[in-house]
């Protein structure tokens, strides 16, 4: 054997059309996990305006003087894009929770033969919950 050929990462993401349910579940779980970590940082940044509010800092919002925390939150909530992102956050969190339960069952050795069905179920449930949440999240905000 003089020489051999390394095909590298063949089969990996370029062949996504051939991925099975378990593989998709893994990819989505990783993706949603990273999204939630990213959200945590923005969450901390927004909440830290409460420190400024405690120091008595105020800001102007729609001609009214409110404290920094209320102003920040209300300012964000009035933005259409923030509402869309909130729906996205809910979708990400719900999928991560449902697939987390699925993985818990897999770890306990329960229903491993139905692992693909439970993945589809968590996808469908995520979709239903997300769609159902849209009226609540989008209430009172215009484009």
């Amino acid at each position: 054997m003089s020489q051999s050929y390394n095909r590298g990462l063949i089969e990996d993401f370029s062949r996504w059309k051939e991925f099975s349910a378990g593989m998709w579940a893994w990819i989505f779980h990783k993706f949603t996990g990273w999204m939630l970590i990213g959200y945590l940082f923005t969450h901390i940044a927004v909440l830290s305006s409460a420190i400024a509010a405690a120091d008595g800092q105020t800001m102007m919002l729609a001609g009214e003087e409110v404290n920094a925390y209320t102003g920040t939150l209300q300012g964000l909530e009035s933005l259409f894009i923030v509402r869309v992102l909130e729906v996205g956050l809910l979708a990400v969190a719900v999928f991560h929770i449902l697939n987390g339960i699925r993985l818990l069952m897999v770890d306990l050795g329960v229903g491993l033969t139905a692992q693909d069905k439970s993945f589809y179920a968590s996808l469908v449930l995520t979709g239903i919950i997300t769609v159902a949440s849209v009226p609540t999240f989008m209430a009172g905000v215009g484009l």
Partner: protein, 292 residues
């Protein structure tokens, strides 16, 4: 497949004139049977019509100048009823290009030599019917292993991992041979390890595993399954089971599995690999849990 399906008239289920309208269970069964056989008729017709199967085979040979750059070769193999992927590449080798290289031996899914990457999935060439595949059938060597030539991959690493779990019975405390005593296993215990003992070392699972691809030290599904076979065997003593678990619970052992189920999907012997790996994870946790 492009074959046209015609209902042969001679194969009609016998009609009872008095049972017209209502379908008897027998008629229903006959109908079901006939529907199940449609594929076979299609195969017969495909064979009779002299149809060919289009296969695209991965070619690479470091010793031939124009094959040093990997490429795909197209072959049109005459279809025969019941033809497998292995039959097709064998025909291509025998009739078209004798330099086409691949491993095969028993041709009945026992030796585990002919695991290929067919249409984007690891499978045994001898166990895969061409009629079930979309054409052109793309036949490649197993991914994540070095290609030696054409469809032949370097299996050394796979075998190293298999040997790393000490896949042999280790109990010193066996009954004396002079007493002609047998070392018996209970039927229940035999059932428990039955599926794990079906492994034929084809390497399809290891090749399909995304984690094994990125972590060369990971034992891989096949080796862990082999360890499961011995760790779950009651005839070995507790001490040896603990020794086995010590190998498995290391950083690159069972904990690398992230339950993608890729190995379970591709295993040609239907071994529930993920299930076995998960059970060993639980065993490893149980062994280390201390309440004091």
């Amino acid at each position: 497949m492009s074959t046209q399906q015609q209902e042969p008239e001679s194969q009609e289920s016998p009609q009872d004139p008095e049972m017209k309208g209502a379908e008897s269970p027998q008629q229903r069964r006959l109908k079901e049977k006939q529907e199940g056989m449609v594929d076979e008729h299609a195969e017969d017709e495909a064979e009779a019509a002299g149809e060919t199967v289009h296969i695209k085979v991965f070619r690479y040979d470091p010793e031939v100048a124009d094959k040093q750059e990997p490429r795909f070769d197209d072959f049109h193999v005459p279809f025969e009823k019941g033809m497998t992927v292995l039959d097709a590449v064998m025909y291509a080798r025998d009739e078209f290009d004798s330099s086409l290289t691949f491993r095969h031996s028993c041709r009945q899914a026992v030796c585990g030599s002919d695991a290929f990457f067919v249409n984007g999935s690891q499978m045994l060439g001898c166990k895969t019917q061409l009629s079930e595949l979309e054409q052109p059938v793309r036949i490649e060597p197993l991914p994540h292993q070095e290609v030696v030539k054409d469809l032949v991959v370097d299996m050394d690493h796979f075998y190293d991992q298999m040997h790393a779990v000490e896949p042999y019975f280790q109990d010193e405390d066996t009954p004396a041979a002079s007493d002609l005593e047998e070392q018996r296993q209970t039927p229940e215990n035999r059932e428990k390890i039955k599926m794990s003992s079906r492994c034929i070392w084809c390497g399809a699972c290891m090749s399909s595993c995304n984690i094994a691809a990125g972590d060369n030290e990971y034992l891989g599904p096949a080796a862990i399954n082999k360890a499961y076979k011995f760790a779950m065997d009651d005839r070995e003593s507790e001490e040896i089971k603990e020794h086995r678990l010590r190998i498995l619970e290391q950083e690159h052992g069972v904990w690398r599995c992230q339950t993608q189920f890729s190995c379970t999907e591709v295993c040609p012997k239907d071994i529930p690999l993920t299930e076995h790996i998960q059970e060993l994870k639980r065993e490893a946790v149980k062994k280390n849990l201390k309440f004091w």
